[in-house]
């Protein structure tokens, strides 16, 4: 386990294969004497966690610390798995309001399944640094515009290169479900849909075309990347994440997913509290959030959104919490705290931002909890990360200790400014 990977060699291989490559961890690390909350197992009041080569290699009350390992004294601290936000625009939307040059979320056109959301993730995004500093180490990144904006990608919020950050580029197909009450969302710069347009029918036609394409074996280098991209999704191999908001649209999307035989995941789902039985019956997982969203109608209960995660848990519906944001992704733990305040159990709230988001995307073998062999994404804290008062002491992504964020850096710089007269 104590192999010494050659950074350059690893990178070369990764590039040659066109694969994503985890950043190399040069030296094993052991956090000793800390409280350990693995999420996938029982809490360890005082124990040790060891990671090397970017993976967790030992975990327990008495884990062996390999020779040469960096020892982190964990007394009084807690170790949690890095959090995962299954809906973000991290790295592809930096200064949203004023600098279009920093925003790569919305492509022209209605159907863009050939686009890979993470391809332009900027590893040196200042926003990523601030999100990571709060313990969010993994994100599903997805573009936004049109009906099919892109394929969403899972990235680790690491440091150096886009390739190294990539966990899985083609994780799920993102669909902005054409709302019964207002048509699909147009792509950037696109004209408003014609009055008689039927975006759902257009989407169905598109899926039909993709199925016809998938049914025939295609030559290598077929010049229709969009159709090729659709294959694992129309054949039900990979999940399709459908963004919905209202109860009517949730119901319509569930029906549609069944008709289309898709491996459906709901995202957003603000009004899920009105459709709990239907979601339960459909057996569809929910990426719920943000929990900070406003209720949809003025006569909805004031806490309708806050209390929905608790309702989903009560019904046994698999769900994870999402922010749907970039800058606000750092508030993922506080979204979970709001859910906890309004009815979600404390351990379930933590699970909803760690293991559950990994499970729903089928990546829990690699992500989402502290367990042997999983990626070494860890957060060292002074306590419960859902408590805003808790300080995050260290964050490891793929075994590497992350530097301070721009915010921390500027804080220290200006705190040091001499006082005035």
């Amino acid at each position: 386990m104590n192999r010494k990977p050659s950074y350059l060699a690893a990178l070369t291989v990764a590039c040659a294969l066109g694969l994503a490559a985890q950043a190399p961890q040069p030296k094993p690390v052991a956090i000793v004497g800390a409280r350990i909350v693995p999420v996938s197992g029982a809490d360890i009041a005082v124990g040790t966690v060891v990671f090397a080569g970017g993976k967790i290699t030992a975990l327990g009350v008495h884990a062996d610390v390999p020779r040469g390992a960096t020892i982190i004294p964990g007394k009084g601290l807690s170790v949690y798995p890095g959090m995962m936000d299954d809906s973000t625009t991290l790295g592809i939307a930096e200064v949203t309001g004023a600098a279009p040059g920093t925003v790569d979320t919305n492509e022209l056109g209605t159907f863009n399944p050939q686009l890979i959301s993470s391809k332009s993730v900027n590893p040196t995004s200042d926003i990523i640094g601030t999100v990571r500093a709060n313990g969010v180490t993994t994100a599903l990144v997805s573009m936004r515009g049109g009906v099919i904006p892109a394929q969403a990608s899972v990235v680790d919020l690491g440091l150096y290169t886009n390739d190294e950050m990539s966990v899985e580029r083609e994780t799920a197909l993102w669909i902005n479900f054409p709302s019964a009450s207002g048509g699909g969302r147009g792509g950037r710069g696109g004209a408003a849909p014609a009055p008689n347009a039927n975006p759902l029918r257009e989407l169905n036609d598109y899926l039909d075309a993709a199925r016809r394409y998938a049914a025939v074996s295609q030559p290598d280098g077929d010049p229709r990347p969009a159709m090729a991209a659709m294959k694992p999704y129309v054949t039900g191999q990979k999940p399709v994440i459908v963004s919905v908001t209202t109860a009517a649209d949730i119901r319509a999307a569930l029906r549609w997913g069944r008709e289309q035989h898709l491996k459906l995941i709901l995202a957003g789902a603000r009004d899920a509290w009105e459709t709990i039985p239907e979601i339960k019956a459909a057996g569809v997982p929910v990426l719920y959030g943000p929990v900070t969203a406003m209720p949809g109608s003025e006569n909805d209960p004031y806490d309708a959104v806050y209390s929905t995660p608790g309702e989903l848990a009560k019904a046994g519906i698999p769900f994870a919490l999402i922010t749907g944001s970039a800058a606000d992704s750092r508030n993922l733990p506080y979204n979970a705290a709001l859910a906890e305040a309004y009815g979600l159990a404390s351990d379930a709230a933590l699970r909803a931002i760690t293991l559950s988001p990994a499970e729903i995307l089928g990546l829990d073998h690699d992500l989402g909890s502290l367990a042997m062999g999983k990626r070494a994404n860890l957060v060292v804290t002074t306590g419960d990360p859902l408590d805003p008062r808790t300080q995050i002491k260290q964050v490891y992504v793929d075994g590497l200790l992350m530097p301070e964020s721009k915010h921390q850096r500027l804080y220290e710089q200006w705190l040091a400014r001499p006082d005035g007269k």
Binding site: M294, P295, G296, S297, E298, N299, D300
Partner: protein, 467 residues
């Protein structure tokens, strides 16, 4: 000129009378053997209504029929006073697009092009873009206090449809603007403004709303500021006039007679009524507050949610003219809380329909206005919705006629069948508000002594081209 129009519209029966020698300066009529809903008193049966010189001269079972009168046998028919519409734009030409827009202040494409050219040149209306007059002291739009509705009257043929619905007189002013101008009280007949006018100085109609012409104000709070500044300016003019007169018109420059503020002096001096268009609860309260700020005696027009403001309306002794459209207050009332659910919207509509009954119960005087009425709503059907919510038959009659007449300042002229009042009459096959009777049709309409036959059932008529 008037006889020319009568020539065309009167049936042969009336024509004969027109040619006969007359004691009245104009045609006189006697409707005999009628059931008469006087509104001012108990209904009469087997009664005669005598009309002379455009006015009612006698009402009663024993009223003498003048020798020269054209007798209309109204046996089996019901006569009721014409409805008084508290606020409408009947008789006004449709507002042309961009009307009132100052050069370069939006509106027509030409104006926009001119504005663009001016902007490139760095000026607008000759004022450089960076001149403080442009960005600190903006010219307000929507102050149309110099507009006189009586001057704008242009009776179109579309009046027939309105008249046939029973609405025979109305307060009119243009719909746009914060100060909409001097209102007029009119009869709905032709051929010209002179024939229509009952009162050319019928009050100022105001609405605290963005002028909707681009420019300033663009918000409700801006509209309030414009209202306040305009009336302050008017107060100042009043002060100057007073000081100038006291000084014997010497030693001081003549007052600054501004055409926008001068017409508002009667309003400030309580010589003229103040109408505020306001439908939502908040808008009503705002209008009452702002009336009070300048000691105006307000009448609320629209008043959809007036029942929620009853204590304040009573405290202000405000008149109320309730829109028969009963339009729900709508989503969020400008708030950003998400709209109400469809059930709530429907309940709001139901509550709007109950506004007249609630006002009646509380003793708040009110009339009706057709403001906002949609093409598929009729006056009588809407009144019946209010009656379904508890408005009594007599209260409905009063709101449609006498109370509306009093609120628009014409209580002695309109709204009931009494000697001395203007002869605005509807002759129908029955009582249109009587429970269970939906077959009533109008046979004759009389506006200020002009008799018009009704050719189609009013129930089939839909709205008016003027709306």
């Amino acid at each position: 000129m008037r006889s020319a129009i009568l020539w065309r519209v009167l049936p042969p029966l009336a024509l004969a009378a027109l040619l006969a020698p007359a004691q009245c300066p104009r045609q006189s009529y006697a409707f005999t053997h009628a059931r008469v809903i006087t509104v001012s008193g108990a209904p009469l049966s087997g009664a005669t209504v005598v009309v002379c010189n455009g006015m009612i001269t006698a009402v009663g079972a024993d009223a003498a029929v003048p020798a020269d009168a054209e007798v209309v046998d109204a046996t089996g028919l019901t006569i009721y006073p014409g409805f008084v519409d508290g606020f409408s734009q009947y008789g006004l030409p449709p507002a042309p697009a961009g009307r009132g827009a100052a050069p370069g202040r939006g509106g027509s494409p030409q104006a926009a092009i001119a504005a663009q050219a001016a902007e490139i040149a760095g000026t607008l209306d000759g004022v450089p873009v960076n001149d403080p007059r442009r960005y600190i002291d903006p010219a307000a739009s929507g102050v149309d206090s110099d507009r006189v509705t009586a001057d704008l009257l242009d009776p179109p043929s579309g009046l027939t449809a309105v008249r046939d619905s029973g609405v025979l007189a109305t307060l009119v002013a243009p719909a746009d603007g914060i100060f909409k101008g001097e209102a007029a009280l009119i009869n709905l007949r032709g051929p010209d403004a002179a024939a229509m006018l009952i009162e050319p100085h019928a009050g100022e109609v105001m609405e605290l709303t963005p002028a909707g012409r681009g420019g300033y104000p663009s918000s409700v709070m801006g509209a309030v500021a414009v209202y306040r500044q305009t009336l302050l300016d008017a107060q100042r003019l009043a002060t100057e006039i007073k000081m100038y007169r006291q000084a014997g018109q010497r030693g001081l420059p003549p007052p600054d007679y501004d055409p926008k503020t001068l017409p508002l002096l009667p309003l400030l001096q309580h010589q003229e009524a103040a109408y505020f268009v306001a439908s939502d609860w908040d808008a009503i309260l705002r209008a009452l507050d702002l009336a009070k700020e300048f000691q105006l005696q307000p009448t609320i027009v629209g008043a959809t949610e007036a029942q929620k403001a009853i204590p304040q309306l009573q405290a202000a002794h405000a008149g109320v003219l309730v829109s028969l459209a009963f339009a729900p207050a709508g989503a969020g009332r400008g708030g950003r809380g998400g709209g109400p659910s469809p059930a709530i919207v429907a309940a709001q509509r139901a509550e709007a329909e109950s506004t007249p009954a609630a006002l009646a119960k509380a003793g708040v005087p009110f009339g009706f206005t057709t403001m906002g009425l949609t093409a598929n709503q009729t006056v009588l059907a809407q009144v019946k919705l209010a009656m379904d919510k508890g408005l009594s038959e007599s209260e409905a009659w009063e709101a449609l006629t006498l109370h509306a007449a009093r609120i628009v300042g014409a209580g002695t002229q309109l709204g009931s069948i009494e000697p001395g009042k203007i002869a605005n009459l509807v002759v129908a096959t029955g009582d249109p508000l009587a429970a269970g009777d939906s077959t009533v049709t109008n046979k004759w309409i009389m506006v200020a002594g002009d008799l018009f036959p009704v050719h189609a059932a009013p129930a089939a008529r839909r709205g008016s081209p003027q709306r």
